[in-house]
Symmetry: C2
Subunit: 196 residues, 2 copies
């Protein structure tokens, strides 16, 4: 079945990401993706010059999705926004379990330098959002002021990554977002100004 190129491109991107979830990023061959879509393997190269270009398109798509998820994580207090940001990130990882694996995939780590740069940029952007909100929380007087915002941000984003790894490598038998938010609140409790 013929489709306009725009639609087909989007379909390829979605399928590559979906297959990456199911069988792992490095197992996604052009043949596998094509047969999952229902076209010939050669058809993919009508829309992308190389397989690396397909992955870059996937990165673009993920960037958009993550960015809007971050934008939608609103709250009136800085601490609430921190929780919303982390929850949004965990939700995205749950929905697309390939994301953590992609960071260590062969595709990203060898040969596809642009893909690597794209995802590094994403992580840095998230980190920057957290730093901003931590600083705001300190100014508002709800977070301890004796720690550098950048250090606090590393503690918080590390928690996200650590939870993602536990969930990804394990049997995925717990709710990533539920456990993640619970432990985030444990950490935020440690970071709150002491009221006693």
């Amino acid at each position: 079945m013929r489709k306009p190129a725009e639609l087909r491109k989007a379909e390829i991107v979605a399928t590559v990401l979906d297959l990456a979830d199911k069988i792992g990023p490095d197992r996604v061959t052009t043949g596998a993706a094509a047969s999952a879509i229902g076209v010939s393997q050669a058809a993919l190269f009508r829309h992308f010059p190389t397989k690396a270009a397909m992955w870059l398109a996937v990165a673009d798509h993920v960037t958009e999705e993550l960015t809007t998820a971050w934008d939608n994580a609103r709250a009136d207090e800085p601490v609430g926004r921190l929780e919303a940001l982390v929850a949004a990130q965990l939700a995205q990882i749950m929905a697309k379990p390939a994301l953590p694996m992609l960071l260590f995939s062969r595709e990203l780590n060898v040969g596809n330098e642009d893909l690597r740069a794209a995802f590094r940029g994403l992580l840095m952007k998230f980190q920057a959002l957290i730093v901003t909100e931590v600083a705001r929380g300190q100014e508002a007087g709800c977070l301890r002021r004796d720690l550098a915002p950048a250090d606090v941000a590393i503690l918080l984003t590390s928690l996200v990554q650590g939870m993602a790894i536990r969930w990804s490598l394990g049997a995925r038998d717990f709710s990533l977002i539920q456990e993640g938010v619970r432990l985030l609140n444990v950490q935020l409790g440690l970071l709150a100004v002491k009221r006693d």
Copy 2:
């Protein structure tokens, strides 16, 4: 050059791990390993029946190295031991950057279920060591008692993993062990009983 099988086996294991550091776990082909050693590709199959068996031997080797590193991380107080354990872990990762990547490698995640089990066991063992030491620290009165040791352990191991990811994806332009221990102490400061 002929070598006794024992030596050659060890050489193969070391070379596979070393190549994994340099070019990534999934790029280590039998041909690449063989030519790095200086023998023909077929020679490897004199010592291991399959490539998967080579990786299992690598896992055994890593298990031994990590275990002795943990054993040598001694200290008289629980908090000092926590720091020593984390420092030892970070040092191992710095020395063998393939370790985090291996967790998400294709080799481990598809087909080689034994390899996956081996590394999952290693992670769980480390986690258990941390839990034990946190509980001891709480009993000794140097760590806050209002948190579950398992939760605290997740915060600490997540920090290790988060730092490893930052270091691994970035330009590896900072000392993983130095920055890691610094941030560990920030976290441990948050967990210490308030003396004021």
